[in-house]
Symmetry: C2
Subunit: 155 residues, 2 copies
């Protein structure tokens, strides 16, 4: 492997960590955290998501998410509800307080997007985003294939 500075996962982590840390600091005075924001942002995109969906869209492990949502519920930001279509599932809804907090965070989020992309022209910015989506999709290939059960061995 060549120098670190040209290793993609390194560059990715480094950039992500820097944004995350800075953003997290800005959340504190609002009584929020980066993870709380992620959930709120996901629910703003689409309210009433299940835990599992939310876990995928936020990249937060579902067991971590359970406890994060516990907190958010205590803070009155979201409300859990059993999914009427499937009693195993839980559906999350944002409360008015949650919406108010979201509205307060939005301008910060927009500022971050701007700062991060300082000096990028619109085409470059779009290119970067497209590349990140592609990269994400590429990693699908590494997802564990379902464990090959030697049960009804007619493979």
């Amino acid at each position: 492997m060549g120098p670190l500075a040209s290793y993609l996962p390194y560059l990715l982590n480094r950039a992500g960590a820097r944004i995350a840390t800075a953003f997290g600091e800005e959340m504190r005075p609002l009584g929020a955290t980066l993870q709380i924001w992620r959930v709120l942002a996901a629910l703003r995109e689409q309210d009433g998501q299940r835990m599992g969906d939310l876990s995928s869209t936020t990249s937060i492990d579902v067991s971590t998410l359970t406890r994060l949502v516990d907190n958010m519920e205590k803070k009155g930001l979201v409300a859990r509800q059993r999914d009427p279509e499937d009693a195993r599932a839980v559906v999350l809804n944002v409360t008015p307080a949650g919406r108010r907090l979201t509205v307060r965070i939005l301008p910060i989020a927009e500022r971050y997007e701007k700062v991060a992309l300082q000096g990028f022209d619109p085409a470059e910015a779009e290119q970067l985003k497209a590349a990140l989506r592609r990269l994400y999709a590429n990693m699908d290939g590494l997802k564990k294939p379902p464990p090959n059960k030697p049960h009804g061995r007619r493979g």
Copy 2:
């Protein structure tokens, strides 16, 4: 803010998380972790770094790093040494075992780079990396300015 899928920090985190999780899983059978790899990779780039430098290059908080290095020392992967130039500082050196582990991980790391960049032509890949470096640099602007001490008020 528009849809999540066009929010840069979101895309960044999502891509990074996916690589990190998958890579972490591959580390387990080797008795390593993603963070251990980060330290080893940083030291491979430049052995004998101080804790603080290592913290910057790996994006691992220095207090976390202290304990991570404790573990790595127990595993015999690295050795701490007081910096002869500055007795406050500690310098890390990779041991032979650390080098051996590094060598075992390298091909995995290279595979990840390849998979992540599947379908990117070299120019596109370089563009992406350049963009990530730029983004990282852009975030410098948000680092807290040193608290303006009203002490020797001759500013």
